[in-house]
């Protein structure tokens, strides 16, 4: 979790997750920022309402999906954070099955 300095260093930035601010630096992914802040999970699953966060880390498993600036289904492990990003957790309950 140690930041590396070089010259001017990466610019700081802030995003919010469900309204809560998280600080980081340019170049970090959304998942990287959340993990660095010791946040381990954000999505809530549909069937068991269980928490999920990073699993594969390279965009294959789709466990880490978040909504970014109103756009659904963004892989937090791939998307670089941009200053001011409004990130929301996703929870899509199952519709009632009639049969």
């Amino acid at each position: 979790m140690s930041a590396t300095s070089q010259g001017a260093g990466p610019r700081p930035l802030t995003i919010t997750l469900d309204g809560r601010p998280f600080a980081g630096t340019e170049g970090q992914t959304i998942a990287g920022m959340l993990l660095a802040a010791r946040r381990r999970s954000w999505r809530t699953t549909s069937v068991e309402s269980a928490p999920r966060g990073v699993f594969c880390g390279i965009g294959v498993c789709f466990d880490c999906l978040v909504t970014v600036n109103g756009s659904r289904d963004v892989r937090a492990c791939l998307r670089r954070a941009a200053d001011g990003d409004v990130v929301e957790t996703q929870h899509d309950p199952l519709p009632g099955v009639t049969s």
Binding site: R72, P93, P95, V97, S99
Partner: protein, 416 residues
Amino acid sequence: MTVDVVVVGAGIVGAACARALARRGLAVTVLDRRGAASGTTAHGEGNLLVSDKEPGPELVLAQHAARRWPSLVAELEDELGSDRHGFPPLEYDPKGGLVAATTAAGAQPLRDFAARQRGAGVDAREIDVAHALELEPALNPALTAAVWYPEDAQVQPVAAAEALLASARRAGATVRPGVEVVGALRDGERLVGVRTSDGDIPAAAVVLAAGPWSGVVAARLGVGLPVRPRRGMVLVTTRMPHVVRHKVYDGDYVGATQSGDAALQTSSVVESTAAGTVLIGSSREQVGFDDRLRVAVLREMAARAVRLFPFLADASVMRTYLGFRPYVPDHLPIVGPDPRTPGLWVATGHEGAGIGLGPVSGELLADLFTGAEPATDPAPFRVDRPAVLDAALDEPHPSESTPSENTPSENTGEAS
């Protein structure tokens, strides 16, 4: 060992035939070159519609099917169980359908169509925009006409086909996946069984239910049958908040169903599934069994869906798949004995409605087979109707057909 009936094809139609025949005490064997419910039945959607059908024999069959489905689902769940570790749910949902015209030109044809359907006993209610938005709040309010069809329903096609097969097995039927029919066993004119990749199977009768491959199999059995593939693609989104409540179609669906035009046609059918995904169908293309992805087709489907439901623009499509609807030149199913070849029975050609019409077609076939009073008039679906016999003359001669051209598609993803 001789069986009473060999059913060729374990799609929903073959499964329905097998169940209905086995429950009447016949010894049935079902063959499929691949797995059960792995053909068109696994590559379409599960709409059980009256809303898309012109008054006529297909509508009569669809109305019969709409009445039959609820009791059928109850029978199957009763028989097979439907708890968490029992049989997978059939996801039968009589949710109703909303047909919306999105253009000025489309409004009147839709109203006229609905009026004709009302004349044929369909519950087709013309509603105003406010009512339509009450039913589907996310719908594009720029509608020109809307008709509500409470009788439309949906089901999970593979689960339904597997349930029919499981029920058939309980009634004594045998299901043999991985067995391909390659030829006929004949006694003079009479068909007395099939040659397969796993040996000869003598049978008193053969039911041909091989979906879009029925023409190919018929040729192997030595008869001409004009069943052709009509390709369709479907888009599936990721799970989303439950916004689309009913089946929603743009009015063009009506026109596309009836036309024999080879050019690409798309019309939007948007529906939520029990898993929370949204299915967007579908295209109609006459490209033989060509299974290559065509992105331009996806674009047309996407554009129509977004026009119906603007919020879908942000939805992620995670999968697309395609299937081949089995169709006959006059767009009616074929159900009944083939008088040209004693011993041969046919149940196919359901085109884009085989999930809805499959179960009642199986029962109709069993009625005819056992001499029972049919629940609906079988005459329009008979094999020896002029449209079938005439087109059959143009089919390639049996010896010309090369099986490899027409193998079931490998390039197709999976449904829902």
